[in-house]
């Protein structure tokens, strides 16, 4: 399975994903993951930025709202169509392009910064994607990306819940891999049954990458790791949105801020 195959899966997910996430059912993104990402992000006002794997563009629009001049790219044609529609409805000056993270259609040094929200772990050629991000950054520019936490989002994974349904622990295994790619089927748990009616679950290809695979790939691409985050929902957030309580038990996401050396 390569990045083009993955793109076909995501193209199949794109319509339902766009509808359900824009309806507010991607609560992990909205309540925790994107706010923590933006809290860690250096100032981007006035900077030229590239959002890699932008999907329907919600996160890209948050970057544009912070004053960045954004270009955004996704491998799914339908995601890009949804993103462009949002740009027409409410223009923020974002340029959306159909393309792959493993062969970015930009010249060297074209951007001050790159972001990738929860997209790089879906790319089997993640090392090549990191090298490409490094290539299109100008010296001194940065990449910030989020992925599912490689130590806890393992091939074997079960949540242990108490009688009230709260996660009290997670079980992980097959950390070093379960023998190649597999396809998970899931949907946003926060979406009520009526919202899910007639919607097929997402089909998401998964790849085996350990923590060390990620850290070494970032270093080998030429980056200097500058900051690391593992977002955790605070009690007020959990009180307002009990779905994200499980993020208090183990790490769900890993955020990395990495910089290209100034030469």
């Amino acid at each position: 399975m390569d990045h083009l195959d993955v793109g076909r899966y995501w193209d199949g997910n794109a319509d339902a994903w766009t509808r359900l996430s824009r309806a507010g059912y991607d609560v992990y993104r909205d309540r925790l993951n994107t706010p923590a990402f933006l809290a860690m992000l250096p100032g981007v006002a006035g900077l030229q930025g590239l959002d890699i794997g932008c999907g329907e563009g919600t996160n890209t629009r948050q970057l544009a709202a912070r004053g960045a001049r954004m270009c955004a790219l996704d491998i799914s044609r339908r995601f890009i169509l949804h993103a462009r529609q949002a740009e027409r409805d409410e223009p923020l000056g974002i340029r959306y392009l159909l393309g792959s993270a493993v062969e970015l259609p930009f010249r060297d040094g074209a951007f001050h910064f790159c972001t990738a929200f929860m997209s790089l772990m879906d790319i089997p050629e993640n090392e090549q994607a990191l090298r490409e991000a490094h290539r299109v950054l100008r010296p001194g520019g940065f990449l910030q990306f989020s992925i599912t936490h490689p130590c806890f989002d393992t091939p074997f994974r079960r949540n242990v819940r108490d009688e009230a349904g709260r996660t009290i622990a997670v079980q992980i295994g097959d950390y070093f891999g379960a023998g190649g790619p597999r396809v998970d089927r899931w949907t946003f748990g926060a979406a009520p049954p009526e919202a899910r009616e007639g919607v097929e679950p997402f089909t998401v290809p998964r790849f085996d990458h350990t923590l060390s695979d990620w850290l070494n790939a970032v270093v080998d691409a030429g980056f200097e790791v500058e900051q690391v985050g593992e977002p955790v929902a605070d009690d007020a957030t959990v009180a307002a949105c009990p779905d994200v309580q499980d993020t208090q038990v183990v790490g769900y996401f890993l955020h990395l801020l990495a910089r290209k050396a100034r030469r």
Binding site: G140, H149, C151, F152, T154, F156, R158, V160, I168, A169, V170, Q171, I172, G173, D174, Y175, F176, T210, L211, S212, L215, N216, V219, E224, V225, E226, Q227, V228, G229, E230, V232, Q248, V249, V250, G251, L254, R259, K260, A261, R262
Partner: protein, 266 residues
């Protein structure tokens, strides 16, 4: 719980530690963690090296055999006494604490620390101290119990009916700091031998992955390499108890360098 209390527990464990590890019962270190650590280590021949938390000095001697001019430091005087008993190594043995390394700035070309820093209550200052005694361009390579899959306050092994470890159960990952004292020994040592020895005691202190990486960065060190030892199939064939080490990693090994150029960040 401070570093002196940790040092006292470790000092009391010295005789058991050195007799069992020298008899070859630290099989996990011997067969997996140390070989992985040494395979990842850059060439150290001719370099001045500091082994932080050297214990009875077994690994320090491994480094000296690779041609490094080694200093071994430990907080426990009895460990250092055992280290000095070992013959013909040409190693300097020093009693000292990670909280305040008894060496001048830039004294060493490299520093190592094997399965020590996760027992140090003040791991941030310890990394600063390690960075301070390194020359510009020098490196620190250390191993700790894996902060995500092993050294976590709630952890339980899950085995199937054949005894095969298929998962570990984890929780309280974000509850950081001291969480207990454990009494332990090497499972590979025969029961009758263990019965005659004082059990070893150590502290359990947990910090998250990001705590560790951000502390390294704040200490002025640049991440260079990460490894998580996995038991190779040949090792499991020879010693089936190592099958556990194919499920999740027990240890995490990190190398970071004191950069010749200051960090790029504004």
């Amino acid at each position: 719980m401070d570093h002196l209390e940790v040092g006292r527990l470790w000092n009391e464990s010295s005789d058991t530690w050195s007799s069992l590890s020298r008899a070859g019962y630290d099989t996990c270190g011997l067969c997996l963690n140390t070989p992985t650590f040494l395979a990842m280590l850059p060439d150290v021949a001719g370099l001045r090296g500091l082994d932080i938390g050297c214990g009875e000095g077994g690994r320090t001697r491994d480094l000296a055999r690779r041609g490094a001019r080694m200093t071994g430091m430990d907080i426990a005087p009895r460990q250092i006494a055992h280290a000095r008993d070992s013959v013909g190594s040409g190693i300097d043995w020093v009693v000292g604490s990670t909280a305040e390394l008894p060496f001048a700035d830039q004294s060493f070309d490299f520093a190592t620390s094997l399965m020590v820093l996760d027992s140090v209550p003040q791991y941030g200052p310890a990394l600063h101290e390690a960075a301070r005694v390194l020359r510009t361009g020098g490196f620190l390579q250390f191993s700790i119990c894996h902060p995500c899959t092993n050294n976590v306050p709630h952890r339980r092994k899950l085995r199937d009916e054949n005894g095969r470890l298929y998962a570990v159960e984890l929780g309280d990952y974000f509850q950081t700091g001291f969480y207990g004292i454990h009494e332990w020994t090497f499972g590979a040592a025969p029961a009758e031998l263990r019965a005659n020895l004082v059990p070893m005691r150590g502290v359990l202190i947990h910090y998250t992955l990001s705590d560790w990486l951000n502390a390294l960065i704040r200490a002025g060190l640049r991440l260079e390499r990460s490894e998580e030892p996995r038991a190779p199939d040949e090792l499991v064939a020879a010693m089936p108890e190592f099958a556990d080490e194919q499920c999740v990693p027990q240890a995490w090994i990190v190398r970071a360098r004191k950069p010749a150029t200051p960090p790029t960040a504004p």
